[in-house]
């Protein structure tokens, strides 16, 4: 994690470098009415970030443009636009190799275009933070929310968190650096939210004081050497352990990959500490549980209220971290559930598949309701599916059904 030795000093922008735990838990908070994009800017203002590189992703989120304002105000060390998302993510790698705290943001097709970089970041142990304001990735083009792109990130070796609200987003951007920069973790973090729903809508968010910031990143605690002329990462690529075809070079690669996933595992204890658990459970004794992440959880909460009005008891499991995956926590939370409902904003139902692979008696999982392509997921639809599952007759909620 960041060095503590500078606590109490001022950074270049005149902010006081503050103990992160104290800043996030004890400092007085001010309620503000902001869009998700503005919240990204406000978190970044307090993150003591060395560099922000982005390809403009407006209209999905204004975050990249707002970060430019922060640079002009002196809160970010350097800021520039890459010529494409692939270029941006490569430039982020260069900055992180050099020992900088790096921030970027992307969405949808941009995430997909840059994909080659993400396992490279993880393999090189670069603790870059990337905001992913999820949107559709397929053709025909969509700028509307859709979480399919998250599923592509799950096996990159990055940490992947999924924020539900703007408040999550604000807190987790700052906490994210604290987890991903731990020397036993030191991995990139993809902090995802459902674009549009979170980025474009305004919500009340409690902000930490603007004159406080995180301690700077300490590259000397990195588990790999910083880039220098003696041991540059390019040399690791060029020198022939990847060029050799023999048992030992394969074994080195295998051990390297295992180490990346070991680091994901090690992040578990830090994530539990900073996020107060990998999941959040509401009404754990209920026989019907809604289990999901992001704004699907918010819609689930509304459905819960509707169902309770009809005397149907429902619990909620909010999954905060997708990597590390909270397998044990989900098994424990769902052990008494008879029906596990997994609402999602994507066409494939990757979350339901993950949950099915995690729990015993996976026939309890109802993989839906699902929407995609920017459709909303009305709570009435979730409630109706649950009632159908329970054998309760429903009125049709869409189309011309009876």
């Amino acid at each position: 994690m960041a060095t503590q030795s500078s606590v109490g000093e001022k950074n270049k922008a005149g902010q006081t470098i503050t103990d992160p735990w104290q800043m996030m838990h004890d400092a007085e908070r001010t309620p503000c009415f902001f869009t998700g994009s503005e919240v990204i800017k406000e978190a970044l203002r307090r993150a003591n970030c060395d560099i922000m590189i982005a390809y403009p992703i407006t209209p999905q989120s204004e975050a990249a443009a707002l970060a430019g304002e922060l640079f002009a105000e002196g809160f970010i060390g350097d800021y520039f636009r890459g010529e494409s998302e692939f270029a941006v993510m490569s430039q982020c790698a260069g900055a992180a190799f050099g020992g900088a705290r790096v921030f970027t943001t992307t969405a949808g097709p941009g995430t997909m275009r840059a994909m080659e970089n993400f396992p490279m970041w993880a393999g090189a142990r670069l603790p870059i933070q990337m905001i992913v304001t999820c949107r559709g990735i397929n053709s025909p083009l969509s700028i509307q929310p859709d979480t399919l792109e998250i599923s592509y990130l799950l096996n990159t070796g990055m940490l992947v968190w999924h924020a539900e609200t703007a408040q999550d987003f604000y807190d987790w951007i700052l906490k994210g650096y604290m987890v991903s920069e731990e020397p036993d973790v030191h991995l990139p973090l993809a902090l995802c939210c459902d674009g549009f729903f979170v980025t474009h809508t305004k919500d009340m968010v409690s902000l930490t004081p603007a004159d406080m910031c995180l301690p700077p990143y300490d590259p000397y605690r990195s588990p790999v050497p910083c880039m220098d002329m003696e041991c540059p990462p390019v040399r690791m690529m060029r020198d022939p352990f990847i060029m050799k075809s023999n048992y030992i070079s394969y074994a080195t690669h295998a051990s390297w990959q295992q180490e990346v996933w070991a680091a994901v595992e090690r992040s578990r204890k830090h994530t539990v500490r900073w996020l107060d658990g990998l999941i959040e459970v509401e009404n754990p004794g209920a026989e019907i549980l809604l289990v999901s992440s992001g704004t699907a959880v918010s819609q689930g909460r509304e459905a819960k209220v509707l169902l309770e009005e009809e005397g149907i008891d429902v619990g909620i499991v909010k999954i905060k971290s997708l990597r590390p995956w909270p397998g044990e926590e989900i098994r424990e939370a769902t052990k008494n559930a008879k029906h596990i409902i997994v609402p999602e904003f994507n066409v494939t139902g990757w979350m339901a598949r993950e949950i099915k692979a995690t729990i015993p008696n996976s026939e309890r999982v109802y993989a839906g309701p699902r929407v995609c392509g920017g459709m909303t997921l009305p709570p009435e639809i979730i409630a109706a599916d649950i009632k159908t599952l329970l054998g309760i007759k429903n009125k049709a909620l869409a189309g011309r059904g009876s």
């Binding site: 142990r125 731990e182 020397p183 036993d184 030191h186 605690r221 990195s222 588990p223 790999v224 050497p225 003696e230 041991c231 040399r235 690791m236 020198d239 022939p240 352990f241 050799k244 030992i248 070079s249 074994a251 080195t252 295998a254 051990s255 390297w256 295992q258 180490e259 996933w261 070991a262 680091a263 595992e265 090690r266 204890k269 044990e328």
Partner: protein, 203 residues
């Protein structure tokens, strides 16, 4: 997560798992671990000293973080590592051979490593096999490269591995310390001295 997995002397497997993936957790400050079990740092000190004294070829592998005087702390640690080596050398019997083999950098060594003069994280087994090393300690090696090595060693050799880590420790070693300082390394040397003559040497 409860686990029955133990980090034991190899050869373990064609491709042994990362201990973290098997549920082994790193120690907290003031603790160490032995075979994946969390113990007090003192217990780990004594166990490490016993491993050194009962090995035929106890070896220290200092890495770039202590080999180069890039700051004052590194220079102090290097002095402590040298002291530990000298203490070890003076504490073993004539049938044992204490060694100090550096890991000066992490670049793969091709066409051929000289295992008598160095060890490399990409093929550490070659140095261990060549010198018949049966107990070793990593110190001053970057954590990623140390774990890379420790898994390869566990997979293909029967060498007992100890990690003196300046950060959070290494669950892939059979015995690990964390938050290593020059003082901590000196304390391990004190334990070696204290146990000299009380540990049965190898036959």
């Amino acid at each position: 997560m409860s686990t029955s997995y133990q980090v034991l002397r190899g050869p373990e497997h064609f491709l042994p798992p990362a201990a973290a993936s098997m549920g082994i957790r790193l120690p907290d400050p003031g603790q160490g671990h032995i075979h994946g079990k969390i113990v007090s740092e003192e217990e780990a000190m004594e166990a490490a000293a016993r491993q050194f004294l009962s090995a035929k070829v106890p070896t220290i592998f200092p890495g770039p973080l202590v080999l180069w005087a890039w700051n004052e702390k590194a220079a102090h640690k290097a002095t402590a590592v040298r002291h530990l080596y000298e203490t070890l050398k003076a504490s073993v019997t004539s049938t044992q051979q204490a060694m100090l083999i550096p890991m000066p950098d992490y670049r793969p060594k091709y066409p051929k490593i000289n295992p008598e003069v160095e060890i490399n994280p990409n093929h550490p087994n070659l140095t261990i096999w060549h010198n018949k090393i049966d107990a070793c300690m990593f110190v001053g090696v970057h954590c990623h490269q140390a774990n890379l090595s420790l898994k390869i060693i566990r997979g293909g050799t029967d060498c007992y591995t100890i990690a003196m880590c300046a950060q959070a420790g290494h669950e892939d070693a059979m015995l690990s310390f964390r938050d290593a300082t020059a003082e901590k390394i000196m304390r391990l040397a004190d334990w070696v001295k204290k146990l000299k003559g009380s540990v049965e040497p190898p036959k």
